[in-house]
Assembly symmetry: C2
Homo-oligomer: 571 residues x 2
């Protein structure tokens, strides 16, 4: 039955690819002053907007985004997060992995097929550019004639973010200096690009009058207008730089039905936890007293944050959209309660009838110990004591075009498959906090099954372990399990869910815990796998996988211009 | 006699080139917090410093600067201002003209010969990057055994600048927006990288405490310590973003002896006017009352500026260097008095015995009308109603490597050789303020003599004309004359100084006036000629010359990576 369904789904997919429409976007990317939280700041916009335009498409459509870099002196790359880029690994938009950066003045065409319905996102994937405001939603609908396993009246995208007042250059300068200057907690949380900084908190004003202007319409609360009695599918996306969030709608339950493009066996909650890089669809029925509005809120969890909650209006028509709810915004969950977050992680399973069963066994197991380290006095994040750096020539180019002659382009020594499981104490600051930097990568045998165990540990601070949302490019993985403490290769795999595991592209690793994933290395290309916290990736918390590079087609010249590709392009 | 001298000088030059030393620098360029005027701001530093290290060399030396771009997401290019780059046009460092930008993470080697003694500078030549702090001095001494035509005891470089608190991204965003947001007057003037913003002027403080800190040693006044009775050669360099300056030393006369690497027939002044891109050597004797210190000051001329004077200490040893002079700083000249500035321009002539006579006639005359215009609602600067833009493929690459097949790489239509001399009223806002954008260039016949007349006019504001310092890359030019009003091709050339004109690489065009230049197109390459005001060039005030492109040697691959050079480099 499942096999038949898979076959049918594949068939539908094939038909759609044949019939898919081309959706052509022209985007101009530049710096403009914006006041998303009432504080005026230079933000990166797409066609004047941050968040950028929502991409609306149907399964099988071909998306073409013709992107012009008008940032002046700053390069650019955009990643289409959750889109697997089957057959188009050069369109993944990961600077240093799949392409050279897009130069100021240049126009770059991303072209790819959205081969699965679901909720995805796009965002800058270059330095810490994402948190300057370059992000947006992707919503892919099912083909005509195909129905989804749940019903709703309206479909809405809501993208959640956190927001800093300092520029990415200021933040990066602190992170890469000795002594280390941490970016700190964000100043605001944004809901669909709108937040509200308390201007009176600027006890002292900035150089310019009007830098904080509470009456600026750009920072009026985001409003979702609902018709009483109707059911809304809300496609939640978190693109936060740092924060793990809880999202809730005052007085309303929400039923989780989709995660990262996969149907979830429905479960109902008062609030949903969402980590940077994740998407969820929730169903909400407008069934409360319609004479008033309600709060939609986001609040920070897993960090003892100073960032105030994000607020928006769940507006019952025909009340005025900007009428404040008569109640105080509901409090979010306790920031340090891990149990409810772990419980939600465990609750997310594939929906009956939509289960893609994982291979029963894997060909390779790699354990990734996540640690904070010191390298030459600088603070870095590492995986198995290796802190990731990018080479001058992106891997896809180096591997595909050097024809086995890439030795000089990046470190050829394979990175470690694990750490010292017996002696390492994940509950303490490491005895030796040193690590090394490397641009070496994991080469995967094509079509093999790989297990990844993400192991969390104590940071450089006593009694502290952070939550890391890890995101895999080019694939979905099965989430086989979560656990507390140190992963035990002898006993923990017996607890894996091989029956109905959800497939995702981003997954949290809870503090002092582990998360086990399985994926099939069946997508020719070079793919990043990294913590989705912008500053953590910047500080080295990631790896790259290669598989089937010999099957990759000819790379477009627009991906080149760096490393070994500074020469004349011969068609 | 002059011919013999020229021959001897050439001979000495040839010997020096043969014997020249290699001076190898390794520079790391990054963003760091600096407080040059007591206000903390992200600045671009070289090896941690802004201004960067002074390059000290001897005529004939080969300079190698190995430059690593650690700016994160921002590209880079450095121009060696005043160095003609004979035989090395690819080392001129002009992004879009002679090279592709240097990518973050890349290392680029500039290599060139300093073939003439004198005072030069280096600075970023990419977007508006220069005014983020990326600049420094170059001082080239005469060969051993050669003496200069004046005597001094000590030799010092002093680089003058103006300073903004906003980032280059913020400034550029305003300049390229509609409505136009002008960058405004700089907040401070810096002398050798140090200024002093009045913290109490921040009536309101910034978000962060300590943003303005008057006790920060980074902004203690620059001090030039002098020994009573000794004569100092001060090599003054102006790298201002906007401001024309007057420099003076309280109670001391100064004798001008060098300009842009050429000996000047000495003349003595109380204050010297210096425009962005110019260098002067002045001789100052420490012959005043040695029991006290004196002020060195810069002040803005030609604009009704709000920028307070720059202050430094002329410190008589053994007084304490930081002891303030007992007097008020001397007032600068009236900002709007054109006459003294024109008089100084006219006073600068080649030194007897060091005259390079210009060719008696020219082969081509090009008149450049400087105007402020509107294009599609945006404010731009233009030359003959053409506002300059850069192509994707730098000219040097496009011209040299396309082998006559560069048609598609930039506009092939020659730009205009002049404007409507009879009908254009330079004293009024133009009737039609429209202009067009173009990346077309002036192709010069190799070894011909070219006259350039720079004609100033009214801006978009009634009764306003601005001073523009124009800088030529790859050549020195003879300054044949200056005049007020509209240049008259029939009568004004008769007034040219063909006897002892100074050679320079940067020259002011005074308001409502003209400046006439002559140069020989004998340096194979592609060379920018532009207003040295950073925002004016950004807004299109420049042109490019090409000459002898077929004589240019093989371009290094490091210059490539943009436009048509995004392909594999084949050695």
């Amino acid at each position: 039955m499942i096999k038949l369904l898979t076959f049918l789904l594949l068939l539908i997919g094939a038909i759609e690819i044949a019939e898919g429409r081309i959706r052509h976007y022209k985007w101009d990317v530049k710096y403009e002053y914006k006041s998303p939280d009432c504080v005026k700041k230079l933000a990166i916009t797409i066609n004047g907007r941050s968040p950028g335009p929502t991409i609306l498409a149907q399964q099988g459509d071909t998306i073409i985004v013709e992107l012009t870099n008008s940032l002046g002196m700053e390069n650019l790359a955009i990643h289409w997060h959750g889109i697997r880029q089957i057959g188009t690994p050069w369109s993944d938009g990961t600077e240093g992995v799949t392409q050279c950066p897009i130069l100021p003045g240049d126009t770059f065409s991303y072209r790819f097929v959205v081969d699965r319905p679901g909720t995805y996102m796009y965002h800058a994937h270059y330095g810490m550019q994402r948190q300057a405001g370059l992000y947006g939603s992707i919503r892919v609908s099912v083909p005509d004639g195909v129905s989804e396993p749940f019903a709703y009246d309206y479909d809405r995208s809501i993208i959640l973010n956190d927001w800093y007042h300092k520029s990415t250059y200021e933040q990066a300068a602190g992170l890469s200096s000795d002594p280390f200057v941490w970016v700190g907690e964000p100043q605001s949380l944004l809901i669909q690009g709108k937040g509200r900084f308390n201007c009176s908190k600027l006890t002292t004003l900035n150089l310019e009058p009007g830098v904080c202007n509470a009456t600026n319409p750009e920072c009026s609360p985001y409003t979702l207008t609902v018709v009483p009695g109707k059911t809304y599918r809300l496609r939640l996306t978190s693109i936060t730089a740092l924060s793990a969030l809880s999202f809730q709608i005052e007085g309303h339950n929400m039923t989780v039905v989709e995660a990262d493009g996969h149907y979830v066996e429905p479960f109902t909650v008062k609030n949903i936890f969402i980590y940077s890089g994740e998407t969820y669809s929730i169903l909400v029925k407008a069934e409360q007293d319609p004479s008033r509005n309600y709060w939609m809120t986001t609040s920070v969890v897993s960090r003892n944050s100073t960032t105030p909650p994000g607020l928006a209006h769940f507006n019952y028509y025909p009340n005025h959209p900007q009428r404040s709810p008569p109640t105080d915004p509901p409090a979010g969950p306790l920031w340090d309660a891990v149990e409810p977050r772990l419980a939600q992680s465990l609750a997310i399973k594939a929906r009956q009838g939509y289960i893609y069963p994982p291979p029963a066994t894997s060909d390779r197991i790699i354990v990734f110990l996540n640690t904070q380290n010191k390298i030459d006095g600088y603070t870095r994040w590492s995986v198995n004591n290796v802190s990731f750096t990018l080479p001058e020539t992106p891997y896809l180019i180096a591997l595909k075009e050097s024809r086995g002659n890439a030795q000089h382009l990046f470190d050829q020594k394979p990175p470690p498959e694990g750490y010292n499981f017996t002696s390492y104490d994940i509950y303490s600051v490491a005895n030796n906090t040193n690590a090394t930097k490397s641009d070496s990568i994991y080469r995967l045998k094509f079509n093999t099954t790989v297990d990844i165990i993400l192991q969390n540990a104590n940071t450089l601070t006593n009694n502290n372990s952070e939550t890391h949302p890890w995101h895999l490019h080019g694939h979905d993985f099965w989430v086989l399990g979560y656990g507390e403490g140190k992963f035990d290769i002898n006993s923990d795999p017996a607890r894996y869910n091989l029956v109905d595991p959800i497939m995702k592209n981003t997954v949290p690793v809870h503090r002092y815990g582990w998360t086990a994933l399985r994926f099939v290395a069946d997508n020719p290309g070079a793919w990043a796998f990294h913590c989705h916290i912008e500053s953590h990736l910047y500080m080295g918390m990631g790896v790259v996988f290669e598989e089937g590079i010999e099957k990759v087609g000819k790379l477009p010249s627009q991906n080149m211009g760096c490393g070994i590709t500074k020469g004349f392009w011969k068609p």
